[in-house]
């Protein structure tokens, strides 16, 4: 029985994707326990509601995180509209869902590239990001920005998309599918990739439920938990939607769930484009949130369920704005998944929760 060593891992480390610090208690190459610590990128953004009114704050909400930018602006706008009792035009809610699903495609492709890089398959990483560039070019054509879009505002959207642009979106997404199937085959069927992923970082279904995990991380352990089923925004108009789950509970299952979600998102976008109604895309909000009014909202971001809460105080500044991001709920799950793994698998397991520490700390 060897002695236990404590290895500090992060926040600066070549393989770590996010500024997270882990104290790994290691014994003979096996991790016995991992204690996470965050706080390196805390910017105190929630206190800025005191100096930015509810229209200006959406630009701060967007910049909490680069990858989840569309999700945060959308969730914030929906929550404040619920607070003030605003009805958003139908065309605007359809466009919001289209942009959000495209954001899910780009986020999952980014993640798959990082996962490939984590076990050393750099050319697969480059191919994933090359496909992701096509989605970013679509964002640029639709809204003017590649990552931070500023396309959503309280009351609707900033600009409308005409039928030609939406047809172009459909064309590009269909064109991605062929090469994407080849990449999926490399992830799911390649023997060297499978040996790094299968059986690594297992979290059983009961532990997943106990720890309150969310997102694809939980769905890979067969926890059916998806806000898109709860019917917020234009998601209620989808003809049928079943969350993708897997029963394997390991890293391979998490890769499989995310890979299939991209195809599901392409189907959702095509359905939305086919059924989008005509009409205005913006309704100017009048007045301010009432004193003591409270509203909450939830959104299925690429990483999981994100919960928003807004409270008004009668002025145009919100009293409190809370954004609870999915990675904060998954930190406990990550610490549990790291127990008993090999030291070489640590960064792979950290990556499979799809960490977004800048969202967690705001």
């Amino acid at each position: 029985m060897g002695k236990a060593t404590i290895i500090p891992f992060g926040p600066q480390h070549p393989v770590l994707p996010e500024p997270l610090h882990l104290d790994l208690v290691v014994q003979d190459e096996k991790v016995i326990e991992a204690v996470p610590q965050i706080g390196f990128i805390h910017r105190g953004l929630e206190k800025l509601t005191e100096t930015r009114d509810y229209n200006q704050f959406i630009y701060i909400a967007e910049r909490i995180c680069g990858i989840c930018a569309v999700g945060h602006s959308l969730g914030y706008a929906e929550t404040v509209e619920g607070l003030m009792g605003l009805e958003v035009p139908k065309r605007a809610s359809y466009l919001r869902v289209i942009l959000h699903e495209m954001s899910r495609i780009h986020s999952h492709m980014l993640w798959m590239g990082l996962a490939a890089d984590a076990f050393g398959f750099e050319s697969l990483f480059m191919h994933c990001w090359r496909l992701r560039e096509r989605v970013l070019d679509l964002f640029e054509a639709m809204t003017g920005g590649r990552v931070i879009l500023s396309a959503v505002r309280v009351g609707g959207m900033v600009r409308d998309q005409d039928a030609a642009t939406l047809a172009h979106v459909q064309e590009v997404l269909e064109g991605i599918k062929d090469e994407y199937h080849e990449i999926c085959r490399a992830f799911l069927n390649d023997s060297s990739v499978r040996s790094r992923l299968v059986g690594v970082g297992v979290i059983e279904h009961d532990d997943a439920v106990n720890l309150g995990m969310v997102g694809p991380f939980a769905r890979a352990s067969n926890v059916v938990n998806d806000v898109r089923c709860k019917g917020a925004g234009a998601y209620a108009e989808l003809s049928d939607f079943t969350p993708i789950t897997s029963n394997d509970c390991d890293c391979y299952a998490r890769v499989e769930v995310r890979a299939k979600e991209i195809l599901q998102s392409i189907d959702i976008i095509e359905e939305m484009i086919a059924r989008i109604p005509e009409g205005p895309v913006f309704e100017k909000p009048k007045g301010s949130p009432a004193d003591g009014a409270m509203a909450c909202g939830a959104l299925e971001q690429p990483r999981g369920e994100c919960y928003y809460y807004a409270q008004g105080n009668g002025t145009k500044y919100l009293e409190r704005m809370r954004m609870r991001t999915p990675t904060s709920m998954n930190l406990a799950g990550m610490a549990a998944a790291l127990k008993g793994c090999d030291l070489a698998d640590v960064n792979m397991i950290v990556l499979t929760i799809d960490p977004c520490i800048s969202c967690t700390e705001r």
Partner: protein, 144 residues
């Protein structure tokens, strides 16, 4: 086969041109409506100050008395709030971002002083308005 699933894609990339663009020697084509910097048509601007109130970054300063409108391009986050809320509208977003520089600077535009014809036209309009108001008052008195 258990390995090398990426064979087709790897072979194809041997014969196609690279996906990257040799910037700065060639530039990617920019779509319409791309974000860039804010430009103001100062002759049409009424210096109402709405843009400086809605800007989330505090990049715009409007001085009504001195007749100046100034923007700090380094602070601007290209959110287009000013363009969307301008009542005239005189603000537009043009492509081209602020290039790196050695010092932070503001761009200030001065509203040109009105020409003699414009001043005369303003005086005439004011007089006509006062006359119309007096006439309406007289009509109200007569009706009573």
């Amino acid at each position: 086969m258990g390995s090398f699933k990426l064979g087709k894609m790897t072979l194809k990339s041997l014969f196609t041109k690279p996906s990257t663009v040799l910037y700065p020697f060639e530039e990617k084509p920019q779509p319409a409506g791309i974000k860039g910097h804010i430009e103001n048509d100062i002759t049409a601007c009424t210096l109402c100050g709405t843009c400086s109130r809605v800007c989330p970054a505090g990049a715009l300063i409007v001085d009504r008395k001195a007749g100046t409108w100034s923007i700090d391009h380094f602070r601007c986050v290209q959110c287009k709030s000013c363009v969307l809320n301008c009542p005239v509208p005189c603000l537009t977003m043009a492509p081209g971002y602020q290039k790196p520089a050695r010092e932070i600077s503001r761009e200030t535009l001065q509203k040109p002083a009105p020409s003699p014809e414009e001043l005369a036209a303003k005086e005439a309009a004011k007089k006509a308005k006062i006359e119309a108001a007096m006439k309406a008052k007289a009509a109200r008195e007569a009706a009573k």
